[in-house]
Amino acid sequence: MAESSLQGLAQLSTSRWGAAAARAGGPGDAIDGCAPLLILEPPDVPTLADMLAWANKERLVVVPRGGSTKIAWGTTPSSVDIVLSTACLVSPIDHCAGDLTATVPAGATLAAVNQTLARERQWLALDPPFADRATIGGIVATNDSGPRRHRYGTPRDLIIGVEMALAGGRVSKAGGKVVKNVAGYDLARLLCGSFGSLAIITHATFKLAPAPPASTTVLVSAPQAGTLAELALVVAAAPLTPSAIEIEAPGARLLIRFETTEAAADRQAAATCALCAGRGVDAQILKAEAETTAWRDYERRLSPPQAAVARLAVLPTQVGDVLEHVTRVAGKRHVNCVIGGRVALGVLVIAVTGPSAEAVATTIDELRRNAWARGGSVVVRSAPADVKALVEVWGDVGDGWPVMQSVKMRFDPNRILNPGRGPGGL
């Protein structure tokens, strides 16, 4: 698009929605180096829908943005006309404590939501990174989760209803506000992990969990990560109810968290220590400050600066072999791989840094081939632009691809919503 007409659009949008809701994009808004022309920040859902309808008519590419914590996930965009921010869609948080449900606007951060829910000793049981900035819309759109996925699942498991704005400007809802409901198609779950490629999420309703009264973590160390992967499965199979079992390597450690009543958490932690002792593995119980610090440090170590971060999924029993393979490949390619993740679910996060983009990219390719041979997958989350240029973000999405394209075509026929960036490059 010619620069003059771009400026014309900027002026047009400012006059239509006001300077508070529309401004020109700057370098700070760039996505993988691709700067948007316009930043639109609608004050409410009807305005958001109006903006989408306009963008659709003008065939302008729209990238939805929440707290920007995952804006660089997905394929590098070929062009971005509009970044549509949900920053103003932050209230109200409708908490039905007696029903253990809440309906929240897309732009609210997870931390803000959980702060509100905490008043009634409840919470939305999700703990992806950057809860203070990550928004509900972004978390749902990427189906992101954290260590407590072990017990509570991902947004897909907790969402019960959604309100969305479609490319043509239509606002519609699916699901509802009750936990049990099988009326109509489950579009709320379809939007989980859709990366804004089908619609823009404006509100989501979740089932909540009671906030656990106490927390205790068992920290287990061993020389070999493989030993810990095996131990994690033993703990998962024991009559215990951990909320998280995370592995960390190198410097192999397991963090096993119990969140229940204080007495039950203590008993389960002690039982875990006994299991470890039986296998000759060191374990220590962390509580209060020491526990908080251990988890904070773990999260920090998992996101080294300038790393390419990938999610690797295999069967839980394959994790030991995969850890060994990662170490071998890292040695061969002279790259550094920090591994973490939900070991008993078979879902790992691997942060790769190395001497060159080529070394990092070939490492990811090699890990992907290995996971693929096991029936698993590797998806690149965030990565420096030069790495992304050399490696496929999604890998093969399997036989469902023609149907996914067909779904995209029906929901967004003009391909204005995050085109090419969503799952498989939708």
Binding site: G98, K173, G176, K180, N181, V182, G184, R189, V347, F411
Partner: protein, 482 residues
């Protein structure tokens, strides 16, 4: 159906898999919602995914509508045949294909019954969590179509939380694998879209399911209350204590009496009983039991009995699960409704149901999953009395209105099917329904996969909202509006 199509259908379905005899077809005229019935053009009982695929390809070529059917236990007419259409019965696809205990996965064909899975993996200390009341007979394929729940879904979720991957035949006959035994398959979550789509998007021919390990301890409490309201307050108080029990069920006087007459579960003489089940590590269960017991006493429980062994537990659950069938003891006929309200609205909605009962002159029994607000009012009537069946249906429909007005849903587990499609606009706007149609059209643009279900008056794919225009398929006499 023309003879050439029938001949090809017989070939596609495989040896002995085609039923055409009128007496055979009659067996398939309805599912468990017997008042709706349509004789299909043909029934096929393929024995392999390939045969299902061959049948669907043929239907697609000739634009013949088809309806997948599991074991026919659906309560909303989801497997109601289409006139001149093909019913694809999946009961012969009944093998458990793979059991992977270390990874807690099982892969089955759709005709395997729900309980068969649990029986198969029980020796390994595992089970399959969703437990609809019909679990002895209902099929996994049907469970997937309906996103079945059960008494324990309060804590463990629905079918959608336990299906990891499927192999499915799409409406054009393509066979696809979606999801799989490994979590986080890249791509849109089409498995989530298929689960609960009531057979309108594809036919599942294989499913990989998540297993759970049996909890160390299970404890079931049976509590008597003077009124439903008191029992309801006890439920709120339990959840208010931060406890999510494995199950919370409630029955009123009429359903207690019916259950007593039928299976003698020895329920206490009360106007309402509450069944609360706790499970988990033994120490945790013991600790929570003390809290629940005292909450029930505080809220006026007239009796609290704890069942600690399987025999006692089975007796209690037998009373609860027999409630529907037991209504036959107190009424010649009854209509089972399925609606959901936010749990906190239960007292208000139950009050409206009691007023309706008084006004209508029909007795209404209430048995419900109190933990998640899923009501199953049982409307008693006598079909020998002219007009009473229709009256019962109207009463059932009015109860749905109460549910929607309270912010709930028109179905919690039985599905929309053919039965409630006209009620969908009470819950969803025209825009909402149009958006759902986008998914339908992405999977089934020609509208041959279980047509006439879920949606009230679906537009045909490719049709834009606005004044009526005849769709090319209508012009060609291939499709019609209903």
């Amino acid at each position: 159906m023309d003879s050439r199509f029938i001949e090809e259908l017989a070939h596609a379905a495989g040896p002995g898999a085609l039923l055409q005899d009128p007496a055979d077809l009659l067996t398939y005229e309805s599912d468990a919602l017997v008042h709706l019935h349509v004789i299909p053009g043909a029934v096929v009982l393929p024995a392999s995914a390939e045969a299902v695929q061959a049948v669907v390809r043929l239907c697609y070529r000739d634009r013949v509508p088809f309806v997948a059917r599991g074991h026919g236990t659906g309560l909303s007419g989801g497997a109601l045949p289409v006139e001149n259409g093909v019913v694809i019965g999946l009961s012969r696809l009944n093998r458990i294909l793979d059991v992977d205990i270390p990874n807690l996965r099982v892969t089955v064909e759709p005709g395997v019954t729900n309980l068969e899975i649990t029986r198969h993996v029980a020796p390994f200390g595992c089970y399959y969590a969703p437990d609809p009341s019909s679990q002895i007979v209902c099929s996994i394929g049907g469970n997937i179509a309906e996103n079945s729940g059960g008494a324990h879904c309060l804590k463990y979720g629905f079918t959608v939380h336990h299906v990891l991957g499927v192999e499915a035949v799409l409406p054009d006959g393509d066979l696809v694998r979606l999801g799989g035994p490994v979590l986080d398959t890249p791509g849109l979550d089409l498995v989530a879209a298929l689960v609960g789509s009531e057979g309108t998007l594809a036919i599942v021919t294989k499913a990989t399911l998540r297993l759970l390990r049996r909890p160390e301890a299970v404890l079931t409490l049976l509590c008597g209350f003077r009124s439903i309201d008191e029992a309801g307050e006890a439920v709120s108080a339990i959840i208010g204590c931060g406890i999510v029990p494995a199950a919370v069920e409630m029955m009123d006087r009429l359903t207690i009496d019916a259950a007593e007459a039928a299976v003698h579960p020895n329920f206490p003489p009360a106007n309402a009983v509450l069944i609360v089940e706790l499970d988990g590590p033994k120490s945790e269960v013991d600790e929570l039991f003390t809290i629940v017991e005292s909450v029930c006493h505080e809220r006026g429980a007239t009796s609290v009995e704890a069942a600690r062994d399987p025999a006692q537990r089975d007796r209690i659950w037998k009373g609860r699960k027999a409630a529907f069938a037991a209504m036959g003891r107190v009424s010649p006929n009854y209509y089972v409704q399925d609606g959901v309200v936010p749990r906190t609205k239960l007292p208000e909605v139950l009050r409206r149901i009691r007023e309706l009962e008084a006004r209508s002159g029909l007795r209404i029994g209430n048995v419900f999953h109190a933990g998640d607000g899923n009501l199953h009012p049982l409307i008693c009537y006598d079909e020998a009395v002219p007009g009473q069946a229709e009256h019962a249906e109207q009463v059932a429909s009015e109860i749905l209105t109460y549910c929607v007005e309270a912010g709930g849903a028109i179905t919690g587990e039985h599905g929309v099917g053919a039965d409630k499609k006209a009620a969908m606009p009470r819950m969803f706007s025209a825009d909402d329904l149009d958006t759902m149609q986008l998914l339908r059209c992405a999977f089934d643009p020609t509208g041959i996969c279980n047509p006439g279900k879920v949606f009230p008056t679906p537009r045909l794919c490719g049709e834009v909202p606005g004044p009526y225009r005849q769709h090319p398929l209508e012009r060609a006499g291939i499709a019609e509006r209903f």
